[in-house]
């Protein structure tokens, strides 16, 4: 009896004792963000799991920006020290790692996230700790946390211009294809409201699970509905299967162009330029965007990570986030959150996509909308832009057709 009783307790005891003591040891006192010779900053992206393929590129761009700042002497005379964590494509893990970066590493700010789900998971952590998150990816809007800076596009800087472009081109019948999660669903809600107000007709709406790779059914439905254009909010791998199925069915970009909002240079390489050439994408930055700042950025990125690497919109937005934060800290003279927030208002920098200004009202940035045409070499050529940076409007308050959406 005694043996039967003891052995499980021994195992349990050892494990728990190990965990508790390790927890204590792991909590070595850290110097605080701005003490010592360095300023710690958190970099929190998925380095494993389904999102890793996209998020690793953003991490690389952010680390490049940190290295550039350090090479130029750092911020407030101190070098930046990145603390990299893996969000593992798992939303509670993002929250856990964010908390770890804030309370254990005492980072001055965090750059991170990609999916809306990861942002929604991290939002309460940053609000609760009064710490700053810089979120670098275009998203579905309807959010404006006082502790998040959004350096990617909100809907009125990407989706609405995409629709404007289709309307100008005389496309009346639109089919919606998207992955089944919050961004495509919210985006499509906005698209439907826009269509209703602008005499466009939505002839179909299809959602497939994230990671889905069987698109013959959807393509069949497209063939039957014969829309003038397809608005594509599929994410990740699904795009590969979708564009292959589209091409396999003999549907050309001329007959039925698609506008994609989650396909950038990185994804074009994965899909295969042959399969997607001639289709449209909507972003705020392309590797081909003209300007000296972008030439420097692309050259620096290739020099650091390899000549065959491409740069894309989310990477550029992540790079911008680091530069904007550093400028705000330099202006504030401290890394203290409230001071940085106040200093960030109205900061304008010349960045790869052009002049980027932070809107103090909602902590988004002004961005020029750009519609691009995918080229056979995998690059994207701009065919239309909004002429000037568009003021961010995450709740679409400035659009009469959008009342009732939020």
């Amino acid at each position: 009896m005694s043996r039967g009783l003891r052995s499980p307790f021994v195992a349990l005891g050892l494990a728990v004792a190990l965990a508790v003591t390790a927890g204590c040891v792991g909590e070595a006192p850290s110097g605080g963000a701005a003490s010592g010779d360095t300023i710690k900053v958190g970099v929190l992206h998925s380095l494993s799991g389904t999102m890793a393929i996209s998020e690793v590129t953003v991490r690389d761009a952010e680390l490049l920006a940190i290295e550039e700042i350090n090479a130029a002497g750092g911020v407030l005379g101190k070098k930046l020290e990145p603390v990299v964590e893996d969000g593992a494509s798992d939303w509670p893990t993002f929250a856990e790692k964010a908390q770890k970066l804030i309370s254990q590493d005492r980072v001055a700010t965090v750059f991170g996230g990609w999916t809306s789900a990861s942002r929604k998971a991290m939002l309460p952590v940053f609000e609760r700790n009064r710490a700053l998150l810089w979120y670098p990816v275009q998203y579905e809007g309807l959010e404006s946390s006082p502790y998040i800076f959004y350096t990617g596009a909100t809907t009125n800087q990407q989706i609405v211009p995409g629709l404007d472009y289709l309307r100008e081109q005389g496309k009346k019948k639109v089919f919606l294809v998207g992955s089944d999660y919050v961004f495509p669903r919210t985006a499509n809600k906005i698209i439907k409201a826009y269509a209703a107000a602008n005499g466009m007709e939505i002839v179909g709406e299809e959602y497939t699970p994230l990671g889905h790779t069987e698109y013959s059914t959807v393509v069949n439905k497209l063939g039957q509905a014969r829309p003038d254009a397809v608005f594509n909010t599929l994410n990740g791998d699904s795009n590969v299967a979708f564009f292959k199925a589209l091409r396999g069915a003999g549907i050309t970009a001329d007959a039925m162009p698609t506008v994609s909002v989650s396909v950038a240079e990185e994804e074009v390489a994965g899909i295969g330029p042959d399969n997607i050439a001639g289709h449209l994408v909507a972003w705020n930055y392309y590797q081909t965007t003209p300007g000296a700042a972008n030439q420097t950025f692309v050259a620096a990125f290739k020099a650091r990570y390899g000549a065959n690497k491409v740069t894309s919109d989310p990477m550029e937005a992540g790079y911008n986030a680091v530069k904007l934060w550093a400028a705000a800290v330099a202006k504030a003279g401290t890394t203290e959150t409230e001071a940085v927030k106040a200093a960030a208002k109205g900061i304008a920098l010349d960045l790869p996509e052009g002049t980027v200004t932070i809107d103090g009202e909602n902590q988004h940035v002004f961005k020029t909308a750009r519609i691009g045409l995918v080229q056979p070499d995998g690059q994207i050529r701009e065919v239309w832009n909004s002429g000037q940076p568009i003021k961010p409007d995450p709740y679409l308050k400035g659009y009469s057709w959008a009342t009732g959406l939020s």
Binding site: R3, L12, A15, A22, V84, S89, S103, Y181, V182, L210
Partner: protein, 349 residues
Amino acid sequence: MFLVVALLLLAAPALLPAFRLELLAKWLCYAIVAVGIHLAWGRGGMLTLGQGVFFGLGGYAMGMHLKLADAGPGALPDFMVWSGVETLPALWAPFRDPVFALAMVVVLPTVTALLLGTLVFRQRVRGAYFAVLSQALAAAFVILLVGQQGLTGGTNGLTNVRYFFGLDLYDPAGKRIVYYLVLGALLAVFLAAWQLSRSRLGRLLVAVRDGEDRVRFLGYDPAVVKTLVYAVSAAMAGIAGALFVPVVGILGPADLGVVPSLEMLVAVAIGGRFSLGGAIGGAVLYHYASTGLSETFPSAWTYLQGALFIAVMLWAPRGLAGLLASGLSLLRRRRASPPAAPAPEEVPA
């Protein structure tokens, strides 16, 4: 030994910073699931690859109530607002009542497991077929949750849970109370499993595992035994899920699908599925290792974790608890030079 563990766990809030305490509470939630898996798989031989479903049912029952309570009377939870839902879905309305929600935490997983168990075990589905079936259930459950965004929050799940029956979860004091709740639940579940294993039902269960047909010839119905224990293990997963919500503040399909369900099982395998303490220790150790390794090696930790699992499966198929027990008995045999009659090993077929 038990005393040392109990004291350490009781003193943890004083020893650990708030952030680490929150993590420990999360691991203890997984330990509660592990107790259920120990019963179903270790004792009963039911390879259940879908505990995430029951974890999720309990978790959503709790989460729905907490989101409604956070929103306040007459208002909608935040995710419904951005998903375009204008009136509260009928499915949600009864969860405003805390008593109903708390009951559902246990009732939903139990009833689901009873139904499934009755259907499956009566048809004498077992082994790999049962494993595949339970895993398919987990996959289907996640697709359902993701597809019903207005009802369940979709891929985001339920996020930003701030209050737990009046406790402010942003406040370290609130976190401490929740930690003790989890600890209390773990103790209760532990004692229940302990008692069940020693009861008639528990002995029948082991008999069913080792020779189902023989038990049937003796006049017992193995399907009833298995269904009952499967339901108990589901209820435990449900309780763990319900506690996970205030501890972590988020619950979504990412915590409930095939991979997290497998992780729950792998943790128990590492700790030792035949030992109650091993299962609990395994769950804590596994998740501790995930956190520790991923903090130290953010780019390579998944490989290390995989290597750890392979090492345990190769050299300690009965888990760490089995390894420890063999080590102890070896020591004892050495010490007592004339070897006494070997203790009856608790090794299954």
